[in-house]
Symmetry: C3
Subunit: 428 residues, 3 copies
C-alpha cells in the first residue's frame, strides 16, 4: 500500500482527524501533512519506518468495527452481512451498517487503478451481466455495464419498456427465473416500487436495484458517500461531525432519501434541508435522522441554508413527478450558481449532484457557471460510480479478494485527466 | 466421463431401457440403478471394471446410427450433415435426422458445466455475433447472446423494427452481406416467413433462424427435445414409445409444429393433441406423424387428453395472431393447473412450455400454482437453452472439439441452485 | 511481410506505377507482374534476393512524405499529427494530410488478417467503447462496435433519440464528461452539425464523429479511399491521375463532400460530377478541388459522365432531406445498372457506394443487377471499414505498434469467402 493510503486508511478506521492522529502518534501535525502529500509533490516526505510500525500496531489492537455505534464485531464476509433475505442482492441501503459501508469502500479503493484505466483485471471472465431497464436510464445502465466489463465480464442489455414477454402477461417470477438461467447477475430498473425485490425473490443469482420508481437507488447513495469520504480524505476532514446541505426536491427525490439514511449511520452530523414548502423531506426521515442524534434544520432560503456547509448536495426537480401541479415557491432563486457559492460557501466546500442536472439558463439546478470551479465534485462522483459498482459486483459474486492480485497494466494509452477541467482540480 | 453419464449415453446410443440394458449386461436392474445414482448419494455404487469394459465393447460393435430408422451411416462432421444448401446455417428442423440430433445433444452435454457456470471457456475469443431482431424477443435474444458470450465471444445487438437501412429500401441481400463482413455469425428474427433463409443465401457465415414469423424457430424445438431426453434420462425413461400431450393453440404455434416434426424422428410415440375446434394442428403435420408410425389422438378435452401423458407441452394462445376473431370453445377450462395435474397426471409426468406463459389469473395457460411442483420443467427447459445454443454455435463454427479441453474453473461464486424452487427438484 | 505487400507498399510510398517501378529497378514489367501475383497462383514467382535488397535501399533513401505536395517531414506519431485541438479525436477529414492518410492505411493493412478472421488480438482487453447514436445507424454502429471488439475491447451501446438524461435538459458537456468517466473511447452520431465537436471539447478520451447531421462522417471517406487504393493496388493503378465519377445527390450527401476533400490531397485527378440540376456539388468544394489542380466536369448525363471513369461513386438521394420538395430532373434514368455499366465503363472500373442503396425496382440508385459483377466493390468497401476503424481506434488509443506482435490464430472456422459472390471476384 502507498504511504498516503496507509495513513488515510488508518485515520478512517480509527476515526481520528489529522490533529488527533498526529497527537496520538506524538508527531507534529505539519510532519503528518507532508507524509500525506502525493509522492509527486516536492513537499512530500517519507514517514520513518518506526511510524509505519507504530501505526500498524495501533491498528492491530483497534477492534474491527471500532467506529460502529456499539455492539459486537460481525466477522462474516461482507456479502453475508449485507445479504437480503439470505441472498446476495442489493435492494436497499438498509442492508448496510457503517462497518459494511466502510468495508465496501475499501474494496472500491482497490478498484481505483482499474476504474482509472491504469490496470485491467479479468476475474469475471466468462460471466455475463443481464441488464434489465424497464425505464430508460442511459447513465446508470452504462455505469453498471462498464463496471462489469472492467472486471472482465460481458453484458447483455435490455432497455425500454418493451420487454416483450412481460407485455404478454408474464410474471416477474418467470422473467427473473428465466433470465437467471442465462446470466450471472441482474441489474434491474423498474418503475414500480418493490418490483426489484420481487425479481430478487425469484432467483439466487445477485440482483441489484438500479432504481425502483419512488423506492430506492442504493448504489447512488453509496457512491455519494464514497465520494464525500474520498474528498474529505483529501481535504483532511472527517464525515463525522460534518455539515451537509441538501437542496431541491427533497420530497420525491429517492436519491436524497437513500443518502440521508446512509449518512445517518455516521455521528454528529448537521443537515440543512433547503426546499420549497411543498417539496420538503418526509417526516419519517427527519425522525430517523433526529433519533440518531443528528441536528436537522429546514429552510426555504438557499443563502441561509448553504452558509458554512461542508457538502452541498443539489438535486433537480423531477418535473415528470408532478405534471400539471403548481410548484409554489420554486422560483429561479433556487439556482445554485457561482456567485452564490462564492458568497456563502467555504473554499473547501464540495458541490455534489446525482445528475443529470438541467443545464439550461434559468433552470432551478446547479449552474453550469461552476464548471471550472474545483469545488464542483459532480464528475468525481460519477467517476467514483465505476469503482463502487465494481466493488458491489465483486462482493456479491465473491471475487473481491482476487482483484488486487489479478491486475496487470492496461495496454492502451489513457489521458492523465479524463476531463479538460480536471487538471485544475488535480493541481489543487 | 462420469460413470452415470457413461451408462446413460450407452443406453441412449443402444436405445435400451434400464430393464433391457440390465438384461443385456446380465446384471440385476437394481444394481444398474445404484450405478446410475448421483455420486453424492449414499446409495450410489461404483460399477465393476468389467462392466465398464463390457459396455465399451458393446458400444464399439454397435454401428453408429443404430437408432436411425434405416440406411447407411453418414460419417461426415455434423456441420456438414446438417448444412443448409451446403452452408453452415440453422434454418429449419428439417436439417436434422435422429443421429444429427443426438450428436448435437452430446455436444450440448459437454457445454453443461459452462452453462451451469462451473467452468469457462474462451474458444470463441475474438469472434463477434450479430444479433438482428426485427421483432422484439428479449428472452431469445439474451439466450443466444449469453450462449455466445459463454463460449468467449462478444455480441453486437440490433433490436426493434427500426433497422435503419432496411427502412430506406435496402434489400435483405445487402443487409446480410454487409453484416457478414462485420461479424462471424448472425442470429436473425424477422416477422416474414422465409426471410431468414434469404439472409442465409446472401452469406457464407453461419445464420441461425431465431423465428421467421409463422415459419420456424428450430432452436426452440431442439432444446425442447433435449430437455425431454435429459428429464427421461433422470427418470429412467426413453423417448421412443413415450406419450406426449400438446395443449393450446396448435394451429398457429410454430413451436409445436417444429417440435412434433422433430419428435416424429423417434419411434412409436403417442400424441394427444388438445385444442379448441378452431385451433387444431394442421392436417399436413398429422399426416407426417402418422406416416412415421406414431399414434395421434385429438380431443378438445383437457382432462381426457392429459391422462397418462409422460410429457405435457402447454402453449399460450398467441392473441396477436387473431385480432378481432372470436376463439370459440377456448374458455378458462383450458388452464392447466395444479388440481388438474394432480388428478390426471403421473408423479413422473413432466410439464413443459415454450414460454412466456400468461401468469395472470384466469389465463388459458400453464398455471402459476404449479411453481413449486417439481414436475414443472419449464425453467429446466430455458436453462437447457444455453447449452443447446452453445452447441449450435460450436458446431456451426467448428469449435465443438475444442471446448472440453479448453475449460477452466470459473473464478466467481455461483449459487448451487439458480432458482429458489430448484432445490426441491434437485433433491428428488 | 509478404513479397506482394512489400512491393505494393514500395510502389505506393514511391508513388510509382508498375511501369515506372520496373524501369526504376531495371527489370521487365512482366517479371514484376509475376512477383505481384498471389503466392497461390501458378504464375507467381519469387523475386530474387537482390531485388528485395535494392527496393529496401531505395525506400531507405526516399524521404518519408516523398509523396506529399511539399514541405518538411513531420516525424511525430500519427495520433499527434492528426490531433484535434491537441487531443486524440477524429472529427473531420481536415485532420489528415496525405502522409497521415497513408500512415493510417499502413496500420489498416496490419489489421486485415484480424478483420478477415484469420487472426485475433487482445490489445484492447479491458477497454470499453461507449457508442452514442442519437440517430439510428445500425450499419455504422455495428461496424465500429465489431472493430473495437476485434481489438479485444467491449462495447456499451446507446441507440435512438431517447438518451434519457439529455431529454431532461442535460448539456452535451455533462453527458460527454460523465460518459468519459465510464468508457475509454466514444463514437458519437448526432443530428446536429458541430455537436460531436462539442462532445470532444468536454473530454480527453478519444471521440470519433460517426456523422453529425449535414456535417461530416470522416471514417466513411477514409475507408472509401482505402478501398480505392487497395483495388488500384490489385489492378496496378495509382490514385494520382485517376478519373472519379460521382453520381447522385451531390448537394446534401456529406459522404461525397468528405470524400472529395480527401481525394483532393492526391495529384492530377479528374472528377466528373453527375447530378440533377438542383442537387449539384456546392461551389466551395468545386473551388477547393480546382485550387488543388484537379479537373472538374459537371454534367446531368449519366452516360456521358461515367464514360472512361476508373471509379464510379454512386449515392442515394436522401429523400428525408427534402420532404415535400420536388426534385426536378431526377428520373429513373439516374439508375446505374448493368447495361449502362457494360456500355460505357471499362473492365477495370470499380463501382462504389456508401450504402445503404435502394434496391427496389426503379430506384435511382446502383442497381442490384450488378450483384454478380466483380466490378461491384461495395462489399469490399464495407469489409474494409472494419480494418480502417480498427486502425483509427488503435492509433487514437496508442496500440497500433502492439497489434502485429500480439496476433494469434483464430480458433474457429471462417468461410474462405464471406459472400457467395465474392469467389467470382477473388478468382479474377
Amino acid at each position: 500500500m502507498q504511504q498516503q493510503d496507509f495513513l488515510r486508511d488508518a485515520m478512517r478506521r480509527l476515526n481520528l482527524t489529522r490533529d488527533a492522529f498526529s497527537e496520538r502518534l506524538g508527531v507534529r501535525r505539519r510532519a503528518l501533512d507532508t507524509w500525506l502529500l502525493p509522492e509527486a509533490s516536492a513537499e512530500s516526505r517519507s514517514m520513518p519506518d518506526m511510524v509505519s510500525k507504530f501505526v500498524g500496531e495501533i491498528l492491530q489492537n483497534a477492534p474491527r468495527g471500532a467506529s460502529a455505534a456499539g455492539g459486537g464485531v460481525d466477522d462474516r464476509p461482507l456479502a453475508q452481512r449485507m445479504a437480503a433475505d439470505g441472498r446476495p442482492h442489493l435492494l436497499s441501503v438498509a442492508q448496510f451498517d457503517r462497518d459494511g459501508l466502510e468495508d465496501l469502500f475499501r474494496v472500491a479503493d482497490t478498484m481505483q487503478p482499474i476504474a482509472r484505466r491504469q490496470k485491467v483485471t479479468r476475474v469475471l471472465e466468462g460471466a455475463v451481466l443481464g441488464s434489465l431497464f424497464f425505464e430508460a436510464s442511459t447513465r446508470t445502465r452504462v455505469s453498471f455495464g462498464a463496471a462489469f466489463c472492467r472486471l472482465g465480464g460481458t453484458v447483455c442489455d435490455t432497455t425500454g419498456f418493451t420487454f416483450s414477454s412481460m407485455a404478454k402477461g408474464e410474471s416477474i417470477y418467470d422473467t427473473s427465473r428465466v433470465m437467471s438461467g442465462y446470466v450471472d447477475a441482474l441489474v434491474v430498473r423498474h418503475p414500480e416500487q418493490g418490483s426489484v425485490a420481487e425479481f430478487a425473490r425469484a432467483t439466487n443469482i445477485p440482483v441489484i436495484n438500479a432504481g425502483d420508481g419512488p423506492g430506492e437507488h442504493p448504489s447512488q447513495a453509496i457512491l455519494d458517500i464514497y465520494t464525500i469520504q474520498r474528498e474529505f480524505s483529501r481535504l483532511g476532514k472527517l464525515v463525522d461531525g460534518t455539515h451537509v446541505a441538501m437542496v431541491g426536491d427533497l420530497k420525491y427525490g429517492r436519491t436524497v432519501h437513500s443518502l440521508i439514511r446512509l449518512l445517518a449511520l455516521y455521528r454528529g452530523l448537521k443537515f440543512t434541508l433547503i426546499a420549497p414548502p411543498s417539496l420538503e423531506m418526509p417526516a419519517y426521515l427527519l425522525d430517523l435522522v433526529a433519533r440518531n442524534g443528528h441536528v436537522v434544520e429546514q429552510t426555504p432560503s438557499l443563502e441561509q441554508g448553504l452558509r458554512g456547509a461542508d457538502v452541498v448536495y443539489a438535486t433537480r426537480i423531477q418535473k415528470e413527478r408532478f405534471q400539471g401541479e403548481e410548484i409554489e415557491g420554486y422560483t429561479p432563486e433556487f439556482q445554485v450558481g457561482k456567485a452564490l457559492v462564492d458568497a456563502v460557501c467555504k473554499p473547501d466546500t464540495i458541490l455534489m449532484h446525482p445528475l443529470p442536472r438541467d443545464g439550461r439558463p434559468g433552470a432551478n439546478d446547479l449552474s453550469t457557471d461552476l464548471n471550472h470551479d474545483p469545488r464542483l465534485a459532480i464528475f468525481r462522483q460519477t467517476d467514483n460510480g465505476i469503482a463502487v459498482r465494481m466493488a458491489l459486483f465483486a462482493v456479491l459474486m465473491g471475487v473481491e479478494g482476487q482483484v488486487a492480485r489479478s491486475m496487470r497494466d492496461a495496454a492502451w494509452r489513457s489521458p492523465r485527466h479524463v476531463g479538460p477541467d480536471d487538471a485544475e482540480f488535480d493541481e489543487l
